[in-house]
Amino acid sequence: MKIGVFICHCGENISRTVDCPKVAEVCRNFPGVEYSTNYKYMCSDPGQKLIKDAVLENKLDAIVVGSCSPHMHERTFRNAAISAGINPFLVEIANLREQCSWVHDDVEEATQKAIELVRMALEKVKRDKPLTKIKVNVTKRILVIGGGIAGIQAALDVANAGYEVILVEKEPSIGGHMSQLSETFPTLDCSQCILTPRMVEVYQHPKIKLFTYSEVVKVEGFIGNFKATIKKKARHIIDDRCSGCGLCMENCPIKKKAYNSFEENLAFRPAIYTPFPQAVPNIPVIDETICTHYKNGKCGMCVKVCDREAIDFDQEDTMFVADIGAIIVATGFKLYNIEKKSSGSIYKGYGEYGYGKYRDVIDGLQFERIASASGPTSGEIKRPSDGKVPKKIVFIQCVGSRDESKGISYCSKICCMYTAKHAMLYKHKVHDGEAYVFYMDIRAGGKMYEEFVRRAIEEDNVKYIRGRVSRIYEEKGKYIVKGEDTIAGMPVVVDADMVVLASAMIPHDNAPLLARTIGIPYDKYGFYNEAHPKLRPVESTTSGVFLAGACQSPRDIPDTVSMASAAASKAIILFSSDQLEREPVVAKVNEDICQGCFYCKKVCPFGAIEVKDIKDINGIVFKEVAYINQGVCKGCGTCTATCLSKSIELAGFNNEEIFAQIAAL
């Protein structure tokens, strides 16, 4: 085998501490090296041409490039190899910049290490096997999980590109948190007014199949070839018969047994209900836990009033299996549970603010409902306890966010803005009211955001106090808010009529469960991890699974929508070809010596390993061996290390190659 060694100076980045000509010189004498040279910029066009010419001239079989990190230019040099007619996997990079010249000062020391690094790469490349990219078919249908604004946007984008979409929402209606909001910052346009048309568009789109009141329970397969099992929970309504007239809801005798979670528990709902009047689809569900029929078999009021005979008490959960090619996860967020200090949870709660104890201490979403024209107070600002108009409201920012002692170290991003909005809305509706905002910092990064906050302070005269609130207690119908003004350096006491807590955005409780179902990683809070924080923000590390919206980290609506569109375009890119190529770094089983203990199957994080029967000439199974589905395998190699008889090898990183590197240490 003839190997070429190419040492890059990287301008002066490498050559400043590594004597590149010397490295090239020493390497020329290593066994197997046919050609060795150094050049100022190997990644430049002339540099690549130099490699190509050297390969052709010396008939090289493999090349080693001593340059920057393989994460930087491995692809560049592999492409150069392809153009010179060498298999791209017969290229090895010795990391002479990030892991040598930049971290060592002494020239002699760095040069010596550089020689050794090249030697290790040389030994590996000698044992590298030519590999070819793997091709897999693509099912051009997408599963969108979550019917909030992120899911709606993603579904519409993919559907408008002409591909089929399955949209799954766990609630009876799509819309998500955005449908609960009153008006949106910084333009103060009505949330429902801009969202509802989109919801209807989703419902009517011929390419979108909508599954509300449904959950994804199982995901198998791999990019381009997933199989998702969707559980459609029993609504007890026959979908296509219901006209959405709402008579059943009006006539349901159970009026005050359950809070309406859409109204953030500020109102009640009947046993048969739609979460809100504009629900899409406008088909109610029956809450079995409170419906009289499920207690004693009586009532049946809804059945009597429904002239379309749409009520079916005996309906059961149904399961669907769908073939899909990609998944967009857009499951959103929930608010930090302020009152509870459940043991074992990482979240500690805010007992000192009395949420849950005092009815007029509410969270941000509850205020949204109070301020909403379609909310329980029809948009009038009233206290939940007695319905009086509060004359003094205290808004507290960063309740949970940026507070490590309460379990969250991150900033929830939206609270500064929505608190300003709340204060503004309040002042617009209660002209003689006073609004106080306790804040830590104002983070108003975004188009027109800073101006919006200034408007609240300057035009609407909202009083901003920099400092934290230590305690809230009730005294003679007032809520005494004890805090500190850190700018004035003195304690502050406000006797408020109502307190609004801007609580942190956190992932749903079952976010980790869903992550494990799909097979995507998540952080300690349960937010889903992106593949790269900067360059691959909407992809998960599992190929074919994309992320949109607040399930990945706290986001506002514009961010969420752009992320959803980005995720959709990633999916569309995937669907634009019939077959997709992937890196051939996958594990392969030597079936002759596989003993079939299936420890590999147990450790495989992706379920890529299947049982394969080896039959004798009569068709009788005499041995079971492991079989690795090349489409599913991601090439982590955990199976190779677990395999006791060493029957699995990871292409591109096989044991022989690693042993050779060890030997050349």
């Binding site: 010596i593 079939g596 042993f659």
Partner: protein
């Protein structure tokens, strides 16, 4: 003894099993394994304190497995197994080497066995695995014989030795094992006799790349013994056959038992005790200790 013979003979006559793997007497204090396919031969079957071998090692052998396919329909294998041997069988089932339905376990209430053939059974000659035995009753069986017996109490010398080694300095420990491993002649008797070393091609037989140097040089000996111990850690059921088979008397049991103690201490796991509990290898807990990691 008679009931066992009768039972085994009936199994073979009914063609319920293809063969009975059992012990037959060689001399007064010596037995040997036997694969019995003829009902008449069952008359030599025995079970007593001299049945040392862990017969489950035969379950994975291709030639014995082939016996099950000699007639039209696949047949079971019957095996006489001490309660401790059943642990090996459990481990083999968990590792997909045999299926529970394919074997018929004939077990006994065990009263301990001698540590080697030719010795008179007494508390002094008790096998070390019996001294700390916690399972005189089999965890799984299809037929159980014998009354409950008591194992004579004896000093746990193996544990004492482990504690002694633990209290040594690192250099002393290295010297101790260097001396022991130095004796290794790479005969692989430990591997041949181990029910869980079932790989057709062992890691040490692989030459491209060469995982373990196979000449009986010290460095290869070290690799072999470390890798053997590692491959069996959290899998070894502690039958002690490797130590007994070792012609050079390398105290393999010390290492195996230390690893078993660690598995129990860190993960409350004992290999081969239950088919329901997942194996330690191949599973993980997000709450595992992070102590080792910087």
């Amino acid at each position: 003894m008679e009931v066992l013979r009768k039972y085994a003979s009936e199994l073979l006559e009914k063609k319920a099993v293809a063969a009975v793997i059992g012990y037959v007497r060689v001399s007064d204090k010596r037995t040997r394994p036997a694969i019995i396919t003829n009902p008449e031969d069952t008359s030599s079957l025995v079970f007593d304190n001299y049945c040392l071998n862990n017969l489950s090692v035969y379950l994975t052998k291709a030639r014995i497995k082939a016996l099950c396919r000699t007639s039209d329909k696949p047949m079971k294998l019957a095996i006489t197994a001490k309660p401790c041997d059943v642990h090996s069988i459990v481990a083999l089932i968990q590792e997909n080497q045999i299926h529970r339905d394919d074997i018929h376990i004939i077990s006994f209430n065990c009263g301990g066995v001698v540590k080697d053939f030719g010795l008179e059974f007494s508390k002094e000659t008790l096998a070390s695995k019996c001294i700390h035995c916690e399972s005189q009753k089999p965890v799984y069986f299809d037929k159980l014989f014998g009354e409950e017996k008591k194992i004579p109490a004896a000093e746990d010398k193996q544990l004492q030795k482990i504690n002694e080694i633990d209290s040594m300095s690192t250099e002393e420990r290295f010297e101790f094992f260097k001396k022991e491993f130095d004796k290794c002649i790479k005969c692989y008797a430990c591997r041949a006799v181990c029910p869980l070393c079932y790989c057709q091609r062992c890691i040490t037989d692989k030459t491209i790349p060469c995982w373990i140097e196979s000449s009986s040089h010290q460095r290869g000996n070290f690799s072999w013994n470390i890798v053997r111990a590692f491959h069996l850690s959290a899998r070894c059921t502690g039958c002690g056959e490797c130590e007994r088979a070792c012609p050079m008397d390398i105290p393999l049991g010390l290492i195996n038992r230390t690893m078993a103690i660690e598995a129990k201490k860190s993960f409350s796991f004992v290999s081969g005790r239950s088919l329901e509990i997942p194996t330690l290898v191949g599973s993980f807990d997000v709450k595992d200790s992070d102590e080792l990691f910087m």
